[in-house]
């Protein structure tokens, strides 16, 4: 085995004007900078949408509250949902993918750097447009403002007749534009992974993060365009006199529902797969064992991708479909839980027999496993169509999907932040602050979202700006709100940690976690060109092979 060490020292940073730095970032096509821009953009909107959530929770603290008017409340839940899905979750996950995928496959950048930048700026424009609605949406009828039709914008509520003014147009166009950005980013990821892997990295040797992001990108291509199509149809209705969803002309309100959920359900799998990716990289490293059952993890991912395309109408169990349709969507929805459950077992198998290190990334990962298990089980309850006839459109569903998105995706993201922040910045995040963040957030999360299931069981529907005092929902809502406040404090601690550690954190070095994938072989942060020499790999864990030449993975590959 020949070694080929190339020492490349970093050039000394010259005295730079802030305008130069700004110009560099605005015009960059480097996947690492774009990745960070996606992430920072998402963090900003996390705080904005979180504030919207706080407004919702304060209004619902007790019955007949008057904190905000009904109109404002309806805008809040619409903007909270739309922002979180399109301008927090998607950007942050694509940000991590952008940063990590080329590094993990031994490439120097994405396949199409300029498309990468273009996709980011499209998404950014979308977010700006959505929030411009607060000032710009007053239309001819003076009836505009931020959109207030819910993040699904059901027909005919979103039609011109029931939503005059331009608020619904801002919803439509901002997400349409952002959707194109997402599609561009996905095409880029697929092209990068298929065409730019370093020598020796067969598909079977890619890190699971890469697999999961490729499959996710494939899903984006098939699932995001139905939403774009439906939104174009909505614009045709609103501006060209079309009748796609015009029930007075024989149009169908349920057609919008089908198109939306054909997007909407795969969308949540698009969000969860990269979260699985983080867990699949972090749990092995902190259990000191390889992932248990790599081939099955890949197969389960593909199975999830395919089956998740066939479950969409479980969001529509209450619309009066036939018993055969309801049965069909029940069985497919339950089936998609099988590969998902298998993944939980595989992570369990990874931890089993390991030597678990309870550093902050692992704490968040363990919490993820418990919480995702619970979320999956409430999902099974919702998959059972008759049970769903009681649970759907109630706070039980709100609790369920927040359990997945906050308890699952956000926890996985926190794990990813603590794990990869050293690589992005060269500094470790504070473990102490991290533990405060973790425990406060766990307490707040469970206080809010465990309890939130109960008002749903007691008949509380979604999207109501207030409720009657004789329903018995008051105390429960109050507890939910208190939990939200605790979570907000935890997030502030997290943001503080991000900022303070950038300046004062311990130097990280190349490989602070003793990990095994290629990104840990370069400096922290990596040089602009990533790798001085393109690596050649012989197994799934090239750094393990290097560190354990007596027992390399390549022997068993």
């Amino acid at each position: 085995m020949s070694t080929n060490a190339i020492a490349i020292d970093g050039l000394p940073a010259a005295e730079r004007q802030w305008t130069e730095t700004l110009h560099e970032w605005v015009t960059t096509v480097d996947h690492k900078k774009l990745g960070i821009m996606y992430i920072v953009y998402a963090l900003f909107f996390l705080v904005v949408a979180g504030t919207e959530a706080m407004i919702i929770r304060i209004q619902l603290m007790h019955a007949h509250n008057n904190f905000v008017s009904p109109k404002v409340f309806n805008r809040m839940f619409t903007m909270h949902g739309s922002t979180m899905i399109f301008f927090v979750a998607i950007p942050v996950l694509f940000g991590f993918a952008n940063y990590l995928v080329p590094l993990m496959i031994g490439a120097r950048d994405m396949a199409f750097p300029r498309l990468n930048a273009f996709s980011f700026w499209l998404t950014a424009l979308g977010g700006f447009l959505l929030y411009f609605s607060f000032v710009g949406a007053n239309g001819l009828y003076g009836a505009g403002n931020a959109p207030d039709v819910g993040w699904w914008a059901y027909a005919p509520l979103a039609s011109k007749a029931f939503s005059p003014g331009h608020s619904s147009d801002y919803w439509t166009i901002s997400i349409l534009v952002a959707g194109f950005g997402t599609i561009g980013a996905s095409i880029n990821i697929i092209a990068t992974v298929l065409s730019m892997r370093c020598p020796g990295m067969t598909l079977g040797r890619m890190p699971l993060l890469v697999w999961l992001n490729v499959v996710m990108s494939g899903m984006v291509l098939i699932a995001v365009t139905p939403l774009s199509a439906a939104q174009i149809m909505l614009l045709v209705d609103r501006y060209l006199g079309g009748h796609f969803f015009d029930t007075q002309a024989g149009g169908s309100a349920t057609l919008w529902m089908h198109f939306f959920w054909i997007f909407g359900h795969p969308e949540v799998y698009i969000l969860i797969l990269p979260s699985f990716a983080f867990i699949s990289e972090i749990v092995p490293v902190f259990s000191r064992k390889p992932i248990f059952g790599y081939p099955v993890m890949v197969a389960a991912t593909l199975f999830i991708a395919f089956v998740s395309m066939s479950v969409w109408a479980h969001h529509m169990f209450s619309i009066g479909m036939s018993s055969y349709a309801n049965s069909f969507f029940t069985i497919t929805s339950m089936c998609v839980g099988i590969p998902t459950g298998i993944k939980i077992f595989n992570w369990l198998g990874t931890m089993w027999g390991g030597r678990i290190q309870f550093k902050v990334p692992m704490l968040f990962s363990i919490a993820f496993l418990f919480q995702f298990l619970i979320a999956g089980l409430t999902g099974i309850m919702l998959a059972s169509s008759p049970f769903d006839w009681q649970l759907t459109l109630s706070y039980f569903v709100v609790a369920h999907f927040h359990y997945v998105i906050v308890g699952g995706i956000l926890f996985a993201l926190f794990a990813a932040f603590y794990y990869w922040y050293p690589k992005f910045t060269g500094r470790m995040l504070s473990e102490t602050l991290g533990k405060w963040h973790f425990w406060l957030f766990v307490i707040g999360f469970h206080m809010t979202f465990d309890v939130m299931h109960i008002p749903g069981l007691l008949g509380m529907p979604r999207r109501i700006y207030t409720y009657e005092p004789d329903r018995g929902w008051d105390t429960l809502n109050l507890i939910v709100t208190i939990g939200a406040v605790i979570q907000a404090i935890a997030i502030l601690i997290f943001v503080w940690n991000l900022i303070v550690s950038y300046f004062k954190g311990a130097k990280a070095g190349n490989d602070p976690w003793d990990a095994w994938t290629l990104e840990w072989s370069v400096s922290s942060p990596p040089p602009d060109y990533n790798f001085a020499a393109v690596p050649v790999v012989a197994s799934r864990r090239p750094l393990w092979d290097l560190k354990h030449p007596e027992d390399p993975d390549s022997r068993y590959d």
Binding site: P290, Q390, I454, E468
Partner: protein, 343 residues
Amino acid sequence: MRRTIQIGGLLLWRVAAAVAAQAASAPVSSTNIFAPASTPARTIFGLSMFVLAVTALIFVVVGGLLAYSVMRFGSKAADANREPAQVYGSTQIELAWTVIPVLIVVVLFLATARVIHAIEDAPKPTEALDVTVIGHQYWWEFRYPKLGIVTANELHIPVSDPAHPTPTFLKLLSADTDHSFWVPELGGKTDLIPNRVNQMWMDPARPGMYRGQCAQYCGVQHAKMLLRVYVERPADFDAWVHAQQQTAVQDATVAEGRRVFETTSCINCHAVNGTAATGRFGPDLTHLMSRGTLAAGAAANTHDQLRLWIENPDAIKPGSLMPAMQLPVEERDALVAYLETLR
């Protein structure tokens, strides 16, 4: 570390249990999905208990294994330079934990499919009562086609004796956007969608008043589109029907109020049987005083609330489609006096 997690978890569980107990003993919520009073709700309840039991079992087993692995396999100081055995997988174990979930899904699906068919494909007995429900922004219209009754927001149906069932079959329509009819103790929810006809049924065996509300976001006052279902014994129900079938009370003392009603735009939206008012956009007012609430449950049906509703609906339900009538005080008071005779 391990201890902290254990204690933390235990504390959380205790808190959760306390909350659940508090909620259970909280003021009676008449919208509890676990207090079924009608066959569809009861069938769903049975299924939900089964599903809950299965998922609880899965949680205990898998959660237990996760907790065990976290507690058992923590690294100790002595492990600093040793890596554990690098196990890549196990075909047998992976096969087992694929087959078992498949079996669980099959069982759950079969139990579910039975209930779907039992509820959705239930045959309609000849004695069933037909009610047409039309959803509006933000109120409910109820028509009894075979009885010639039109009313709003408060549904009266007969109790159903399990020996001789007299269920009520609802036909669900919408005049504008999507709505959803949800009275949790009487059954699951079904949507009202424009240009679509849906159906649901209920056969409550206990008389009483059951609450619900619209469950599909339909616009600014979705939250105040409340529902009341009065389940009545046969005698009471027949009496109600009889009263509703009468034309409006003609009381000469409120002739001035009736004049105001018939010459202002009220009649564009509202109908009063036996007068010139035949508007269908708003609720039928023929027997307004037979209802306990106004504005789909947003206000009690009292003198002050009725006056306020006519003078300034936005004070009760901002964004509802009832306009402020801008009447001079005497006309408004006369109008209210007239409406209060519509029993």
